[in-house]
């Protein structure tokens, strides 16, 4: 079983909708890999300037709590 590329799997993920390229500031970006060059990063690809960049993944989101 093959896993489709993460750019398809997370194409509409709201967590990544506002990520912009640090080089050209384009919002036309896609997830390349959910883990980048370190555990704390997501690897992105900018479709505009065709460069890769790492994005720090911890943006204070937490999973739904069980203690509700």
């Amino acid at each position: 079983m093959d896993r489709p590329p993460d750019r398809h799997l997370f194409a509409r993920d709201p967590d990544f909708a506002q990520v912009t390229c640090p080089a050209c500031e384009s919002g036309n970006t896609e997830v390349q890999s959910l883990t980048g060059s370190s555990a704390s990063e997501v690897l992105f690809f900018c479709r505009n300037c065709r460069s890769c960049f790492n994005w720090i993944k911890w943006q204070h989101q937490l999973p739904p709590s069980a203690a509700v």
Binding site: D2, Q32, S33
Partner: protein, 248 residues
């Protein structure tokens, strides 16, 4: 050790074992992003374990004892992780359930007065957020494959019994964190099940209901360790600290 610290050690040991699972299984990844993700989750799990050990035993010798001086009867990891993964789907499901259940317990500590513990809980949550996203990404892929979906459903049925068991009984002495406003084990287990259903039910997977008659697992419950028996020898051999001279 206080009851809260007992539970923290259970989470830390679970993360230690989970980190070793990822280290052992990384070469089974299906693609380059899988390798990166599993290595990332491996180091994050080790980091969480060591952060909790450090909190529980800040002195050098006490820390060394906690991290690498304990035997299989003292390790408190989830029994859910005692049996090695049987296939890829089982690996993803077991890791998901371990993350989801340990987060359920840690989320009950987010508002604790102990700021160090609350900070550890929040950090674990931030990392679990992406570990769970990785697993649920795979669930979407597996759901579209008939045989894979069957294996995933089978894994869920076998392992969720142990995940639910980890929360313990609901009597006042057996609940989680005996402190004001603390939730009982059953209430946390219910919250855990709700979160699992939220992820899996939309994909067509059925979360089994609790077995009739309560616990269907052999062995007597030890609330301190959140286990019913000792860590299997084979698993202990995998996780034990092999070269203490390299520790720092």
């Amino acid at each position: 050790m206080t009851d809260v610290n007992d539970d923290l050690l259970c989470v830390a040991d679970t993360k230690l074992v989970l980190g070793n699972w990822f280290a052992e299984c990384v070469m089974n990844g299906r693609s380059l992003p899988d390798f990166a993700a599993m290595l990332g989750m491996c180091t994050a799990s080790y980091g969480q374990a060591r952060a909790i050990y450090q909190h529980l035993a800040p002195g050098q010798e006490a820390y060394a004892e906690l991290e690498r001086g304990r035997g299989p009867a003292e390790i408190r990891s989830m029994q859910l992780l005692d049996v090695p993964p049987q296939n890829w789907e089982d690996l993803v499901m077991a890791a998901y359930l371990a993350e989801q259940s340990s987060w359920a317990l840690m989320s009950s500590l987010l508002a604790t007065d102990d700021r160090a513990v609350a900070a550890i809980a929040r950090k674990i949550g931030e990392e679990a957020y992406f570990h769970l996203k990785y697993a649920t990404g795979w669930f979407k892929v597996i759901a579209s494959d008939v045989e894979g979906a069957e294996r995933l459903q089978d894994s869920l049925a076998r392992r969720i019994v142990l995940a639910r068991d980890w929360f313990g009984a609901d009597d006042p002495g057996g609940g989680v964190m005996p402190r004001e406003g603390a939730m009982g084990g059953r209430a946390l287990a219910d919250g855990f099940i709700r979160n699992v259903e939220r992820d899996l039910a939309p994909l067509g997977f059925q979360v089994p209901s609790e077995p009739a008659g309560g616990h269907a697992i052999a062995g007597s419950w030890d609330q301190t360790r959140r286990r019913r028996d000792d860590l299997p020898a084979g698993l202990f051999e995998v996780i034990r600290f092999k070269n203490p001279e390299y520790a720092h």
